[in-house]
Amino acid sequence: MFGRLVRRELVMAFRHGADTLGALLFFLIAGSLFPLAIGPSPDVLGGIAPGIVWVCALLAAILPLDRVFGADFEDGTLDQLLLSGLAPALITLAKALAHWLTTGLPLLLAAGPLAIMLRMPGDALPVLLAGLLPGTLTLSLLGTMGSAIVLGARRGGVLLPLLVLPLSVPVLIFGAAAASSKAQGLPARPEMLLLGALFALALPLCSVAGGLSLRAAAEG
């Protein structure tokens, strides 16, 4: 049942390919605005490249969030899902996984070229990508939970970033810090471990909180 739900989400994402690619395009366009605004100096850009990639990835991951549950909530699919016997926490988890596969993974693939265009030091690039892996997974979990919480709210799309962005601050800090310390010749291990810890914390917490919100939304 879990696998089928994930597969359904993926099929839906492929059928609406433009929506799925929207986040990716946003990531690349927003990232390429920085050299234009700050100036193309390699020293300046190289120093802030990890931060730019992380902030753009965070914003791009938030972009498609209101669709995660929105359509299902409106047409009643969500009620069917809750009746299917799959625990609400697992529904949230499946949705988060699908969100990561359709948004987080493409971002991860596009982050390398963007970082090179921003003149990021070459040896920090693997650390940046390795940090983005647990980072985007955590962001998908947080975002899916947020999207479940705002179900049924007026202007949920505006509200969602206000709720998710403060919660994702630790991920951003440690993710960008890992790549920055590697670029400065320091070990990135502590930040990477903290990123892993954040993911391990978000995995049960976001699923349970999201499941709780789904049930509340279906009742209300």
Binding site: R154, L163, L205, G220
Partner: protein
């Protein structure tokens, strides 16, 4: 069933029953009695603490007169955090037992908590300028308190975004509980990271690293702030209950007219 009710009540006897307070009507009656003394005590004790701290306490040997900002900054920081803890407790009660009073209290705590957090950030910034030479640094303590401020604002925005108030309360409760992770991060940020903000001078398990002439006014103003916080929250909760009743009456009247 009806005949069993009085017996049950008699068996409980005179023992104080906290669950009775969860009844909004009962809360209104009980709180009406202690709201005025609570407010007066809050205002008086805060005034004593602040006057003592701002005029009659010794200046710091290192910071001089600027240390007096502490009597405003530290209590508001404590209240910002314990206010969030209170919000979290209300959220648990609202999610587990669905007491409507907990929903109203949670909705009324967050604006007050947000104000105390803003006061903490503003006074800390004013204190940072003469002692650190800057209004703001992005160290762990300041950043995590800023996140706390955003969490309060997000909670306020979320509970007001639903047409159905009960749905808003439940969504807000879930969000508040997720945000609780931030509290230990704030508390231990000065221990875990090497920050510009100083580590705690007052601890439960060791002697305070502070002169007692400064400690006493600090505790007095902290007590005053706490009572004031409680008084504001109780009076806001009272008006919240009455607001709901008025809305209920208006709705009933509109339905009768239709």
């Amino acid at each position: 069933m009806d005949s069993a009710q009085p017996i049950l009540g008699a068996a409980r006897g005179k023992r104080w029953n906290w669950h009775k307070l969860a009844n909004p009507g009962q809360f209104l009656r009980v709180s009406a009695r202690f709201l005025l003394p609570l407010s007066i005590a809050g205002v008086l004790i805060t005034a004593v603490g602040l006057v003592w701290g701002l005029w009659f306490s010794p200046a710091d040997w290192q910071q001089g007169q600027t240390v007096r900002i502490m009597y405003i900054h530290v209590p508001s920081a404590w209240l910002a955090m314990s206010g969030y803890a209170g919000l979290a407790v209300c959220s648990v009660i609202s999610l587990v037992w669905r007491h409507p009073l907990a929903d109203i209290a949670a909705a009324e705590i967050s604006p007050v908590g947000a104000s105390f957090t803003a006061l903490c950030l503003a006074s800390g910034s004013l204190w940072g300028r003469p002692t650190w030479g800057t209004w703001w640094v992005w160290d762990a303590r300041l950043t995590s308190v800023l996140v706390l401020f955003f969490l309060y604002l997000g909670h306020i925005a979320l509970i007001n975004a639903f047409d159905d108030r009960e749905r808003g309360a439940r969504a807000g409760a879930i969000l508040a509980l997720v945000g609780v992770i931030n509290l230990p991060i704030i508390k231990f940020s000065v221990t875990w990271w090497n920050t510009l903000h100083q580590p705690a001078s007052i601890s439960l398990f060791s002697a305070p690293k502070m002169y007692v002439g400064m400690l006493a006014p600090l505790f007095v103003s902290a007590l005053g702030y706490t009572l004031l916080f409680a008084a504001i929250v109780v009076s806001r909760t009272r008006s919240g209950i009455m607001e709901r009743r008025v809305r209920g009456l208006l709705q009933a009247r509109a339905e009768r007219a239709a």
